[in-house]
């Protein structure tokens, strides 16, 4: 089987690119060493939360950022593409098997959603199951309810910090649910157990005894994996008040849902995904990438494709690497990285919350998202880079990770579709056939 496009990496950027390509008829293979970083994210779509002050209107702030930081990934795609990317994801979720589970929001106003430590985090778009937690303009008092079995969410701390940070009235309670298994349960296991109406019944009963008039209820984001809308709406209905989820420490249940949604879309569109193989190097012919050297178990093989989307993530995902002699490269193709401080310069500073000099290191790209070599010229004309591997952003400081991944992933797909259409005008698909 030959492919038009191989997408390396299966996080938000890679999956978005793959779905977009497959929906347009391209034969797409997603190769990934492991499950992507979706399982780490809170699955909110953070576009721009701090710049460096808190951002209220991400659309406006994006325009300013693109002008002020020409080296930022958003400057490669432009603010408009970000808005389109959000609309695209909303549509994907609406068409998913989880519907009416939905994503809501856009570039007009950031939501302020509480984190598990009670910080009001600005985010452009989020699952509907989280939105009742919005902390803008005070709002109804909040009861944060934790589940004692879950060590990855601490409701009392969360509630008190919400109150201290925003002035919203908030208190925390801990519930003991009749759960099976060990004393330790992570978010994923709890999400499975909460699909059981009996467990939910106990939760409702315990909460009903403590809730006060007018309170909304915040719960750790464990409200179901198989049919989250049903679990969430059932709780809202039975408690008779708004209920919202708050992301926990990984593994992230809403992140898994997002992964499931995008993977299902890929399957529906005829794309293929293989988890396990590791891309270890390029097969190059001048300015074109002919294929990828892929390690499968102990075997190494060559996979050929007309185009490649490199969406392997940043240092956290292993997409970028730095060795003890401070040599930095991308792990899959060995591309050089930009933004790495020179020998003798500080790579990190001793103050944790300062901007770290290494934070923005990554693969430099041109406006076509092609990787740039040390000479400033594209290394390969048929490789596009998407997501956290691109240089120039500080996603966790800015709260911009998902926005960058979505926008660059979809742009990479769009550029490839455009290139193949142009090239294939005389004979459709001719350039894409693997030898």
């Amino acid at each position: 089987m030959s492919y038009d496009v191989i997408v390396v990496g299966t996080g938000v950027a890679g999956l978005a690119a793959a779905v977009r390509l497959a929906e347009d008829g391209a034969r797409v293979l997603v190769l990934a060493k492991g499950i992507g970083a979706t399982h780490l994210t809170g699955a909110t779509v953070d576009v721009l939360g701090y710049d460096p002050e808190r951002v209220e209107a991400p659309g406006d702030a994006l325009g300013r950022l693109v002008a002020a930081q020409p080296g930022h990934p958003y400057a490669r795609v432009g603010a408009e593409a970000v808005g389109e990317a959000l609309a695209w994801l909303r549509a994907q979720v609406a068409a998913s098997p989880f519907a009416p589970y939905a994503y809501e929001g856009g570039l007009e106003r950031n939501h302020l959603l509480p984190t598990a430590v009670g910080a009001p985090k600005p985010t452009a778009m989020a699952p509907r199951t989280m939105l009742a937690g919005d902390l803008r303009a005070g709002g109804a008092p909040i009861c944060i309810a934790g589940i004692r079995r879950l060590k990855d969410f601490h409701p009392l701390l969360c509630a008190e910090n919400i109150a201290a940070a925003t002035g919203t009235e908030a208190r925390g309670v801990e519930l003991d649910l009749p759960l099976t298994g060990r004393a330790d349960e992570n978010a994923q296991g709890l999400a499975r157990q909460l699909e059981d109406p009996v467990v939910r019944g106990a939760l409702v009963q315990q909460l009903a005894n403590t809730l006060r008039v007018g309170e909304r209820v915040g719960l750790p984001a464990v409200l179901g994996l198989g049919d989250p809308h049903a679990v969430w709406s059932d709780l809202e209905h039975r408690l008779g008040r708004p209920v919202f989820e708050i992301p926990t420490l990984p593994p992230s249940v809403p992140g898994m849902r997002l992964y499931t949604i995008l993977r299902a879309a890929l399957r529906r569109a005829g794309g293929r995904q293989v988890i396990g193989p590791e891309v270890v190097g390029p097969v190059a012919a001048g300015a074109r990438l002919e294929g990828l050297r892929v390690r499968v178990g102990k075997r190494e093989e060559v996979r050929r494709a007309g185009h490649v989307v490199l969406a392997t993530g940043g240092f956290a995902s292993g997409g970028l690497q730095l060795d003890s002699r401070w040599r930095a490269r991308d792990a899959a193709l060995g591309l050089p990285l930009a933004g790495v401080p020179e020998p003798g310069e500080l790579r990190f500073t001793p103050r944790y919350f300062e901007d770290q000099p290494m934070a923005r290191a990554g693969i430099a790209v041109d406006d076509e998202l092609r990787p740039l070599g040390a000479d400033g010229e594209p290394s390969y004309e048929n490789v596009r880079v998407a997501g956290a591997s691109i240089a120039g952003a500080a996603p966790w400081k800015e709260k911009s990770g998902e926005g960058i991944s979505l926008a660059t992933g979809l742009r990479a797909a769009g550029l490839i579709l455009h290139a193949t259409r142009t090239a294939a005008a005389p004979a459709a698909g001719a350039t894409m056939e693997a030898p």
Binding site: L40, T41, G42, D46, R54, T115, A116, V117, G118, A119, P120, K121, K151, D152, F153, H154, L156, L157, A159, E160, N161, A163, A164, A165, R182, A183, D184, P247, L249, P250, S252, G314, F315, A316, S317, G318, Q321, L322, D323, S324, R325, W326, P343, G344, E345, L346, R347, F348, T349, P350, R351, Y352, F353, M358, P395, W396, K397, K399, G401
Partner: protein, 538 residues
Amino acid sequence: MTTLQADVLVIGGGATGAGVAWDCALRGYDTVLVDRRDLAEGTSGRFHGLLHSGGRYVVKDPDAAVECVEENAIVRRVAADAVEDTGGLFVSTPGDDLAYGDRFLEGCRASHLPVEEIGVAEALRREPLLNPGITRAFVVPDASVDVWKLVWALADGAAAHGARVLTYHRVVGIRRDGDEVCGARLRNELSGEEVDVEAAFTINASGAWAAEVAEMAGCEGIHVAPGKGIMIAMNHRLVNTVVNRLVMPADGDILVPIRTVSVIGTTDIRSRHADELPVTQEEVDQMLDDGDRLVPGLRSARALRVWAGVRPLFEDKKTGETDSTRDVSRSHAMLDHLERDGLRRFLTITGGKLTTYRLMAKDIVDAMVRQRGEARPCRTAETPLPGSEEGRPYRLGVRLRAREDELRSEQIICECELVGRRRLEDAMRRRGTANLDDIRRNLRLGMGPCQGGFCMYRAAGILHGIGRMDGPRATGSLRHFLQERWKGMWPVLYGDQLRQARLDDWIFQGLLDVEHVPADTNGLPAPVDAELEATPLL
């Protein structure tokens, strides 16, 4: 102001000071032990964890070797719970002077150090990651020691005999009455409150800071040379035996397996002041290269954390300065201020090494007993510390075994170091501290590969839950911890540990956004300024 009365005030809560307090308490003295920070946060907490067999000193300093041989045997007995009987190897790496091995063997015999030469093949069988090019190997009874466990056992033991232990209490003045020292004035570093200790006798066991404390009593001219050594904790037990390079003591020639990690050490650079210990990139690089000689591939293994400790090496002004602090005698220095300065009821002990902490304590307390004209014999060589009554050494894996029995009933808060929720809550209650870094040293919470990435949010939540402290204070503790841990991480961020650090950033900045929660750091120790200055890398 609070005033405390005591027979003995011990200044300095490292292994020596805690050992002195334990020794005094066992001899029936009412004792107060004070430190400006937490226990074992100075030199003691910043060493490689090696309980010397003496092998390192047999050629260069036979007296120190004999001390080590004797004390090693005693510490294994009385502090068994803090000691892992790893055994030790001395190996010649390619290019090392082969004749040194013969001098080593001779020295071992002269110092009565049990030693056995084994074949290279046997050494490699025992430690498969060792450099296959080694040419000679000797087995000695080195061991590794968990210093926090040791020092806390000493302090707890002393407390069980009535001693009072005041951490975060800085000595701001020595009380004098004519030619007698009669205690000290302390300042609580967290609350600012002042405390007077009226003590019949004062022992200065403040190690690298001994000269400053002595000066407060008016004793001039003492010099304690701060010899800086850096150490790097590697993520795995690259070896299960202490591995020493068979050369005259040099840089990067010891690899110590301790708990779940191994520590490569150390360097020896004279530093300006004991509180200024920057770690430079060059030192890290040198250490990794040196480690690679012992265990090839160490450079590509994962480094968790780097720290610098300072050896308290006593110098008499009369002998003049030396370039390397290693040339200064390792044997400890006792100063009788009555002889030296005409000052009664005041003694200073400094220098020495962790392995001989007990001997140092004994010597100085003996000196006090003599000056007081009493006869109270030392009992520390026979009396086991709390937790070591059965004399069974610590074994890697005991906690895993204990945890396996509890998995259905107990949450594990720190997966790397297997710290359960009950133990954590107990420690938080017992210590009554808001400082997660104190808890880290007590339980090894957050000392594993993720360096607190997963457990510290949990710990902050639990601290808030049980202490009913307000949210901003618990968040302050979390932020304080993140800064403390970063201090040891940033100079060694490469490879998989960089990946881990970025994942932790993802959690703390991306997912939790702890930066934008109100945080109250009152009651937490301020970071040392020098540690927050960016240091040149090359």
